[in-house]
């Protein structure tokens, strides 16, 4: 596949700078804020418009993001100047991951059929924390379609303990067993 510029490299560079300056957590917030602010199709179109001189475009960004730490502003300006502003959400996400790694944390998403109580959440946090040996940052969502049980997503890995998945498994197993017995 053709090489596309990856947000990872930019976030890595910014993160190293942040660690050097001792402000990785604040910059994460700023970066998230910048990504949210620029999440506007018209504004992004302006920032990619070749007819507008790049100095003007950079000026527009600094006007909007004036309150952010200078290095974060510089990163956004760099992306704008290179026409890579679409990478910003990726950079922010990758930065978040780097920060989690640095702090020994892991984002974990829990999907359940009913809303979880505080006690449940603590219980799950402890359980998953023991499982992966890292601090767990829990986000939860409710999806009635899974019928029951829990789906735990740890980064790129998924632990599917939902009733729906088990019923699917049962269906598959039954079908192949019935077939085998019929043969």
């Amino acid at each position: 596949m053709a090489k596309r510029p990856s947000g990872k490299r930019y976030s890595q560079a910014l993160f190293e700078l942040a660690v050097d300056q001792g402000q990785p957590d604040q910059w994460a917030e700023s970066l998230k804020f910048a990504a949210q602010t620029l999440d506007n199709a018209e504004f992004r179109a302006l920032l990619k418009d070749a007819k507008v001189p790049s100095a003007e475009r950079v000026k527009a960004v600094t006007a909007v993001l004036g309150d952010l730490p200078p290095m974060v502003q510089n990163l956004v300006s760099l992306l704008v100047a290179r026409g890579l502003i679409d990478l910003l959400p990726q950079v922010a996400a990758a930065y978040e991951q780097l920060l989690d790694q640095y702090r020994g944390r892991q984002q974990v998403e829990i999907t359940s059929a009913v809303a979880l109580t505080q006690g449940d959440r603590q219980h799950i946090t402890r359980f998953v924390g023991d499982l992966i040996g890292r601090d767990v940052v829990l986000t939860t969502s409710v999806d009635e379609n899974i019928l029951g049980g829990l789906i735990i997503q740890i980064g790129d890995r998924l632990l599917d303990g939902s009733t729906r998945a088990r019923l699917e498994g049962l269906r598959k197993q039954l079908r192949s067993d019935v077939l085998a017995s019929a043969g």
């Binding site: 596949m1 053709a2 990856s6 990872k8 997503q153 740890i154 980064g155 790129d156 890995r157 998924l158 632990l159 599917d160 303990g161 088990r166 049962l170 197993q173 039954l174 067993d177 019935v178 077939l179 085998a180 017995s181 019929a182 043969g183």
Partner: protein
Amino acid sequence: MTTRGQDIVSLIRRQIEEFGGELSLVDVGTVVQVGDGIASIQGLQGVRSNELLDFGNNIMGLALNLESDLVGAAILGDPNAVKEGDRVRSTGQIIEVPVGDALVGRVVDPLGRPLDGKGPVVTTTTHPVERVAPNVVIRKSVDTPVQTGIKAIDAMIPIGRGQRELIIGDRSTGKTAIALDAIINQKGGDLICIYVAIGQKQGKVAQVVGTLEENGAMAHTIVVNAGASDPAPMQYIAPYAGCAMAEAFMEQGKDTLIVYDDLTKHAWAYRQMSLLLRRPAGREAYPGDIFYLHSRLLERAARLDQEHGGGSMTALPIIETQAGDVSAYIPTNVISITDGQIYLEPELFNFGIRPAVNVGLSVSRVGGAAQTRAIRRVAGRLRLDLAQYRELATFAQFGTADLDAATRAQLARGQLATEVLKQGQYKPLSMEQEVIVLFAVNAGLMGDIPLPRCAAFEEQLLRYMSSTHPEIGQAIAQSRDLNQETETKLTQAINEFKATFATQGS
């Protein structure tokens, strides 16, 4: 019916008792881009090359490109059902197909799912689609023939079990017909045949299956079909899937024959996938590994030694050329991989010489060792006769009156040989029938038969031999040789028949 019901009830009971067993961690990813049957997926960190991916809704995919941030996957199924943002799960399963006896007589797709409406394929064994070819230590050289039932091929371009013989020619020169004749001729024999249709018109595949059924050849045949309307990844895996099915039989010590119809379209499908996966394009826009694509497939054809069961897989790949251009990229590749080729020419075909085999350009590099002694004895001079005839034929166009007697005799022999090697479609001959006809030519017993009556002579001779002198045919079939005694008897019998044939004719 009640017992059946009871069975199912007990099954469900067991299932309920064991319900909700252990859980396992799976890798997941998100589709970031999808188009032309190719999906780019973010995540899927632990995925392996050629692993099956689950896109949900019963759609599977094949992980092909593993990059630092993304995984490029081919979608095996309806590509329009996959959207950006869909979650993809890895299955931990390298792509596999069901194998075994249950497949014989069936028409299946490259994943082993039935296409013939005859119910599910019930088999518990599966084999990975991609496998490393048997190594040199467990192989044996080719020594047993595959009788195709086609005189021209069995006599001059013999194919041995475990050989790879390419069938090459322009469109509609009878490439598929040769492969089908070879399959039909295995009726009642011990060869299991697999016909892999790659990128063919569905109508043509239906016709092929119909022909095989009509001739009672489906009983020993599996048809693997990835049609022209199937996605390119399906066409890409089809020959490997068919090969895996044949391999399973080979490992059981059985002999198999596999036809890949055709590898040109296979290369096209792979080119499409590679370009969409943005792999660098090379000559004729094929990717760099196009040679390996076919060499690793054809290398899996083998003859195993006795210690490993003695099974074999004979491969008959088919290549379609454009305007007879055998020096194009794919034809030269496959010619260099295979152990010989059967070259079909449109000129011969239009001339009425069918099968339209160009004897000069066709070779079999290893099959000679496998030829039955009986056929070798009668076919020895045929090739030479034909080669000399072709040289003289150009002169003969200007009239034969001025030529000396020896040249005229040579011309006559060549014409006779060409005439005798013509053969109708779906009319394969048994080994002893081939021997009888070729003996008649070789011994000069057919020299006085006018050319237009050759076909009738041959047909009636074979009928006469089987009704009046069946013992001669049996002797040849049993000994697989032609000894002095049988030869004398055969000459006598043919002369007897000629007497009756001459009177019929006049």
